[in-house]
């Protein structure tokens, strides 16, 4: 039940924040903070002392599951179609829930001083997006999963469409249509899967556990898998479905970009790991070379495109696609190191991309432009900002000792066993990453301050947020085993290849 509470608290907090605006426009952010802190407290409790919350062994037995599910609960919803509320979290789920709640807090930090208009509705959308994402990470009924998949989309649309920048209508519309259409393909695929399961067993069910191992008639398996793949590859995103991302990220307000880059992209990767490959192991194995190729193309192509951007946020957005290419590569290698590396990259990229978007957003808020050729020499006026930019850029490039390095290194290690060519090409991506990252530092912070820009340095709230994210990245870089241990049981049960 604890998972349901996590989601319910966010839903309720969102409504509370909206209603409280009438009393005082400052109140919504306080309510949002209290809501997220409460959720964070529960998440920490789950991580540190799961015993306190009580494992739901009864419903585990009922669903025929064993120990790897830390929390599992189930109740009826639409019995006519075998749709049920099945929520569960294992190690992987917990890691991603933690990431979600933590980055939710960070995006709240970036909104704290930036969002001045219509605060109530803003925090409502922020909290509902987080609730939708936690739902995606915990739903184990495919109908419920799809439901949350769409629920997280609408508040995000509002965030971009109302608080976005100059070209927000186009960006919001594109974001919505890409995700929604690919989602519809997934819905079709889900229903086909359910129907094939019904044909072979005579039972209508959307339960993830029941649908695993469904026998699919010849010729249909690939198409059903493709429905899932396109939905997740659009969200991830990977070339050629990445088109929406640069617009959405650059037009969204800072907190929106933080959530988009930090959390929403990870739902795509999660979907691939949890659903696409385990539900269709054989077809996925045949499809893996193509997917890995797409991953490599994503890494190299978007790195090149990123290099030629002048808009700071667009550049960071393209680098996100490039990093997500590593995730795709690692996941479809389907070896222990590859998938572990993908999970680490998801977590570490969540932190580094969120931090970079906060920096870019903070800069835009201060000097009202995202164009890098109008910046320059900002280190002199805003040294704290400069330091943070260097730290997180270096982290994103994959400096040993920080989380991203562990992730990308493991991905390369894992995929090398499967395809030497793919791993070698992907490794080039890490070199290119250094080029496009350092050019940002050079253009923005080094050189002379041509336009005599006066930039207020980071505020206390921002410093606190960046501080937390630095600690997180250092932790991941120094002691990744703590996270690898959590995700390992999950990956074993999903059938990832372990070589020992």
């Amino acid at each position: 039940m604890i998972l349901v509470w996590l989601i319910t608290i966010l839903f309720a907090g969102g409504i509370g924040a909206w209603l409280s605006e009438k009393r005082n426009p400052e109140l919504p952010r306080v309510i949002a903070l209290a809501t997220i802190l409460l959720d964070l407290f529960l998440v920490v409790l789950m991580l540190v002392a799961p015993g306190v919350l009580g494992l739901d062994s009864a419903s585990q037995a009922e669903l025929g599951q064993t120990g790897e599910w830390l929390i599992l609960s189930s109740s009826e919803w639409i019995p006519r179609f075998g749709v049920a509320f099945i929520f569960g979290a294992d190690g992987l789920g917990l890691l991603l829930i933690t990431l979600t709640v933590f980055l939710g807090l960070m995006s709240l930090g970036s909104a704290w001083n930036e969002i001045k208009e219509r605060t109530g509705f803003f925090y409502f959308n922020l909290l509902w997006t987080l609730a939708g994402v936690i739902g995606v990470f915990t739903a184990l009924d495919l109908f419920l999963f799809f439901f949350f998949w769409e629920v997280m989309l609408i508040p995000m649309y509002f965030i971009i469409a109302i608080w976005g920048h100059e070209n927000k209508e186009y960006a919001a519309m594109k974001f919505f249509i890409f995700t929604q259409v690919s989602g519809m393909l997934m819905l079709l695929a889900i229903l086909m899967l359910v129907f094939f399961h019904y044909q072979s067993t005579g039972e209508f069910t959307f339960s993830y556990f029941d649908l695993l191992g469904t026998a699919i008639p010849d010729g249909f398996g690939f198409w059903v898998m493709l429905g899932f793949f396109i939905a997740f590859a659009t969200k991830l995103p990977t070339v050629p479905f990445h088109n929406w991302l640069p617009d959405a990220h650059s037009q969204a307000p800072t907190p929106g970009s933080v959530i988009l880059a930090g959390i929403l992209l990870k739902t795509g990767a999660y979907g691939l790991i949890r659903f696409t490959i385990p539900l269709f192991p054989e077809v996925s194995a045949d499809f893996a070379p193509t997917a890995m190729l797409l991953g490599v193309i994503s890494i190299l192509y978007t790195a090149k495109v990123a290099f030629s951007q002048n808009d700071l946020k667009r550049l960071i957005a393209y680098t996100s696609v490039s990093h997500m290419g590593f995730v795709m590569l690692g996941v479809y290698a389907w070896t222990s190191q590859g998938v572990q590396g993908a999970v680490m990259t998801m977590l570490a990229h969540g932190f580094s991309a969120a931090a970079l978007f906060m920096l870019a957003g903070g800069l835009q808020h201060r000097i009202h432009t995202r164009q890098m050729d109008k910046m320059g020499g900002l280190w002199g006026v805003a040294p704290k900002m400069g330091f943070m930019a260097v730290f997180f850029t270096v982290a994103a490039v994959g400096m040993p000792g920080l989380g991203n390095f562990i992730g990308e290194f493991l991905v390369l290690l894992g995929s090398f066993r499967i395809s030497i060519a793919a791993a070698s090409l992907a490794a080039i991506g890490m070199v290119v990453a250094a080029v496009y990252s350092l050019i940002v530092i050079q253009k923005v912070f080094h050189g002379e301050n041509k336009n005599n820009l006066v930039v207020e340095d980071l505020t206390t709230v921002e410093m606190i947020c960046f501080g937390f994210m630095m600690i997180g990245l250092l932790w991941m870089g120094m002691y990744p085993q703590s996270m690898l241990n959590m995700s390992e049981p999950t990956l074993r049960s999903l059938g990832v290849l372990f070589f020992q």
Binding site: R80, I154, F158, E169, M173, Q180, M184, L188, F195
Partner: protein
């Protein structure tokens, strides 16, 4: 036996009595408030009779009408729609300085026609109901024609509807004659036996069937019989547009589905082919043309063409899957569409009156900040039309996908996905316009307090959209039991 028959027909009898009462009262005392109150009361009373009818179901009341759970469900839906229209009409016509009372009589007769249509089990009652509804609608659409300054072009719309509707009625009648000539019966449920006796299907029979389908397609505004829809939707007063979009469609759909299933016509290859083509073309055309609209009523008109195309997918699926599942799906989708349309037109109607309609896209700019409640209703409707979870529209779309997958209609499902993708664009565009910063406007209708009746309709329909989307299980159970007869 006869007492049961009377109970069975109670809804129709009650509606007739209310119509007469409203008519007589109008003759003695012209008072807009009184007549509108009587109408709503009479409709409510007719609605509530379902409590008595329920226990004696199903019963065939003469050869013409059949009252079973299915027809009762649609009759109730029709009457609820009529109540909504009556509630919207009162504030709309309040400042209309010409006599308003006859409008309610027409509304009652149109509703009566719709209920007869939904219950009909025979070509005679089919035609009777259709004409009764149609003739009342001609007058309703053109109702404000004598006003010194009417909001739209009611006469143009009325004449357009009259000519095209009369034409299709003629075609339908001819189709019925051909079918009768071939098999010698007009009762829906006698058709299969008569067909068997008649032996091989001749082209005359098939042409007759297709002519009847064309008549239905006209009322359901499926491409290529859709031409009237946008003009009539735009020109008619908003409450009448709401009636056209909800009641008229629901009644026609109920009888069409029954006819196709009971007579086994859905299993004829020609019929499924024609329906498939109409569905695909309606989905694509409806959505594409909706993109170009600057008027919200026209936008809803094209979107209704597309939605009826979606509905057709479930009907076509009945050729391969058990009819019961198809009936369940059609009923749910129609219910969802009914609720969404009524709610959407309630928003336009709340902001409009008989002299000025508030139906341009530009009129909705910043509505979210000027009147959050009304705009939230419209956003819910649009998201529901787009099939987003938490709304009735999503469960409806889920039914289409489920039945489509089960009967392997891959072509239509592809059309559905393409159509929905296009649809998203214009729904989102309207939402985006509402989210824009508001401009100060002294004549802003959204700033003044809106009529109570419209609020009631909006609140009830929005609650229904969300309830059906979040917890559809009870309604699904009901529909499953009513569909079990097929």
């Amino acid at each position: 036996m006869y007492s049961n028959l009377i109970i069975d027909l109670m809804q129709i009898i009650m509606l007739t009595i209310s119509t007469v009462v409203v008519m007589m009262t109008t003759a003695f005392k012209r008072d807009h408030g009184l007549i509108s109150g009587l109408t709503v009361f009479g409709l409510f009373a007719s609605l509530l009779t379902f409590v008595f009818i329920q226990p004696v179901l199903p019963l065939e009341a003469t050869q013409l009408l059949i009252i079973d759970e299915y027809s009762l469900f649609f009759s109730n839906l029709i009457i609820v729609g009529a109540i909504g229209v009556a509630l919207l009409a009162y504030p709309y016509f309040q400042n209309h300085n010409v006599q308003n009372e006859e409008f309610y009589i027409l509304l009652m007769t149109a509703t009566l026609g719709a209920v007869v249509l939904a219950c009909s089990n025979h070509f005679v009652s089919f035609l009777l109901g259709m004409e009764m509804m149609g003739v009342s609608l001609y007058a309703m659409i053109a109702y404000p024609v004598h006003a010194a300054k009417s909001a739209k072009f009611p006469l143009e719309a009325g004449v357009k509807y009259l000519i095209l509707s009369a034409l299709t009625s003629g075609i339908t009648l001819f189709g019925i004659a051909l079918v009768y000539a071939y098999i010698g019966t007009m009762g829906f449920d006698e058709i299969p036996a008569a067909l068997e006796a008649a032996g091989e299907l001749g082209p005359v029979f098939l042409i007759g069937v297709l002519m009847i389908v064309a008549g239905a397609a006209f009322k359901l505004s499926l491409v290529p019989f859709h031409i009237w829809t946008p003009d009539v939707y735009e020109g008619a007063p908003v409450p009448v547009t709401a009636f056209l979009a909800t009641v008229s469609k629901a009644a026609m759909l109920a009888v069409t589905l029954r006819l196709l299933l009971v007579s086994n016509a859905i299993e004829l290859n020609v019929v499924t082919t024609v329906l498939t083509v109409m569905a695909a073309v309606s989905i694509i055309f409806g959505n594409l043309l909706a993109l170009l609209q600057e008027n919200v009523k026209r936008l809803f008109a094209y979107s209704s063409i597309a939605h009826l195309g979606y509905l057709l997918v479930i009907i076509i699926a009945a050729a391969k899957i058990p009819g019961a599942l198809s009936v369940e799906g059609v009923s749910f989708y129609m219910l969802a569409y009914f609720v969404m349309s009524l709610s959407g037109f309630a928003v336009i109607s709340a902001l409009s009156n008989s002299e000025k309609e508030y139906d341009q896209l530009a009129d909705f700019r910043g509505l979210f900040w000027r009147n959050s409640w009304v705009s939230a209703v419209l956003i819910t409707v649009l998201l529901s039309l787009a099939g987003i979870p938490l709304t009735a529209g999503f469960i409806g779309k889920f039914y289409i996908f489920t039945t489509g997958v089960e009967s392997e209609l891959w072509f239509l499902l592809t059309m559905l996905i393409i159509g929905s993708a296009i649809g998203l664009y214009y729904y989102l565009r309207l939402i985006y316009i509402m989210l824009q910063p508001a401009e100060d406007d002294a004549n802003d209708p959204a700033a003044v307090s809106l009529p109570l009746g419209a609020h009631a309709v909006m609140a009830a329909m929005t609650a229904a959209i969300i309830y059906l989307g979040v917890y559809p299980a009870p309604m699904i159970d009901t529909l499953q039991s009513l569909a079990s007869a097929f």
